[in-house]
């Protein structure tokens, strides 16, 4: 552990690096859930998010370490659902490889924390011929997922546009799910 942290300190202590902030949209779990009674699945859910990133050269002019911290703002799950919501916070450890002028391929691993919030209460619903009371829990729970990341980025002077994909549970054929972001970043 100590050696690992020392290596990180050395890595971040390089003289050449840049940093930036970004905004964009996050589309979680493409095709995994059904959106309406007609049976259509989710494709483009543009949940707004913000991010901050660094860019540290590993090999001169070609390869960069590009860590990123992001937060997808809390959003409601169903259209009328006011008391239950979720948000994502993520950390990415990507490497960025320059293919040609200003164009990069980004790849790495990441961790997503899905925070699911619910306000306590109860309600009686139909249940067959009668009714039953069901309960809304009053706790916030965090589900942690690791991802494999792959995407492209085009830089133009102080801004960049990127499309990143995130494979949740990448080694599990049943649970594997694709999410992606579209991001506009500004180099500070």
């Amino acid at each position: 552990m100590k050696n690992f942290l020392m290596a990180l300190v050395l890595l971040f202590s390089q003289n050449l690096y840049s940093a930036g902030v970004g905004i964009g949209g996050f589309s979680p779990f493409v095709g995994v859930y059904q959106k309406d009674e007609q049976g259509s699945s989710n494709t483009l859910d543009f949940k707004p998010y913000i991010s901050a990133f660094g860019k540290i050269p590993v090999l001169k002019g070609q390869l960069y370490f590009r860590p990123e911290l992001g937060h997808v703002f809390s959003y409601k799950l169903l259209s009328n659902n006011k008391n239950q919501s979720q948000s994502f916070t993520f950390v990415l450890f990507n490497f960025s490889y320059g293919l040609f002028k200003g164009f990069y391929i980004n790849s790495g691993v990441g961790t997503f924390w899905q925070k699911i919030k619910s306000v306590s209460g109860s309600k009686t619903f139909n249940n067959g011929n009668s009714t039953s009371t069901y309960y809304y829990p009053g706790l916030t729970v965090t589900s942690t997922s690791s991802t494999f990341n792959l995407g492209i980025e085009q830089e133009l002077k102080n801004i960049s546009l990127s499309l990143m994909t995130y494979w949740f549970a990448p080694l599990n054929s049943e649970k594997r799910a694709l999410s992606y972001t579209l991001n506009l970043s500004y180099f500070l």
């Binding site: 942290l5 971040f12 779990f29 995994v32 050269p57 809304y136 949740f168 549970a169």
Partner: protein
């Protein structure tokens, strides 16, 4: 203005997904076996025990096993005779770590007005589910065999949802209280519900997405070593971001 007030009064304080009980109850294990009791015939429901087992597993795979943010995973079990199995005493035949499915030829289904029922019992102080069941109407008036394959899978997945601790939802989703003929996947609400009740592990590098513990605000497990590393990296990253350094040149 009065329409606005009416809108506000109807749109506030709405929820969607629920739990079956006020206390949080869940299976203690990440993997749950689906078994079928052979005590009662399923002929009135139009299927055999093996077909019920296959359909239950297909339902679990199509719905619950696909959630990347939940540690829960269903596996296919076997058909077996159990000591006792009835709607009035549904859990007596099931054992810990399984959901016991079966057909029942009982008048209770007419009283309930249900195609199938699902539930669980809790005998442990920590809220762990000890036994769980899904019963299909096997009476002469059963309408199970009149359902399409899509509807049958949705019904089984819905009842499995009750067996793992989820309640009804008030909006269109798998856990909605009525069968929706076009329901072929979970809704984002169902995904949030099962991820809330069975979240992925917070203390490991979970690329397999199939193990987990609970991490709750105000309780539960603390951060593990992987999260500590991430936190340390974040601290370094943020502090260095705000220090004065020359920018790297673009390619």
């Amino acid at each position: 203005m009065k329409f606005f007030i009416l809108f506000i009064s109807f749109s506030f304080n709405l929820h969607a997904w629920t739990l079956s009980s006020g206390a949080i109850t869940r299976f203690p294990s990440d993997t749950i076996a689906l078994n079928v009791a052979t005590n009662d015939s399923c002929s009135n429901a139009g299927i055999t025990h093996n077909e019920l087992l296959n359909e239950a597993f297909e339902a679990a795979e199509q719905y619950w096993n696909k959630v990347p943010t939940s540690r829960l995973r269903f596996i296919k079990g076997t058909t077996k005779a159990v000591d006792a199995y009835s709607i009035a005493n549904q859990t007596s035949g099931s054992v810990k770590g399984e959901i016991l499915l079966g057909c029942k030829d009982e008048a209770d289904f007419n009283t309930l007005g249900a195609i199938a029922v699902g539930g669980r019992s809790i005998t442990f102080p920590d809220g762990s589910i000890s036994k769980a069941w899904v019963s299909i109407d096997g009476s002469a008036s059963s309408t199970y065999d009149s359902l399409s394959k899509t509807e049958r899978l949705a019904v089984l997945a819905h009842e499995i949802g009750h067996a793992i601790g989820l309640g009804h939802s008030e909006q269109d989703s798998l856990m909605y209280f009525s069968v929706v003929p076009t329901r072929e996947k979970l809704s984002d609400d169902d995904i949030a519900a099962v991820s809330w009740l069975y979240p992925n592990r917070s203390d490991s590098f979970d690329v397999l997405g199939n193990c987990g513990t609970i991490a709750m605000v105000g309780g539960g497990n603390g951060p593990g070593p992987f999260q500590f590393i991430l936190t340390a990296m974040l601290g370094l990253f943020i502090s260095l971001m705000f220090s004065k350094r020359p920018k790297a040149s673009l390619l």
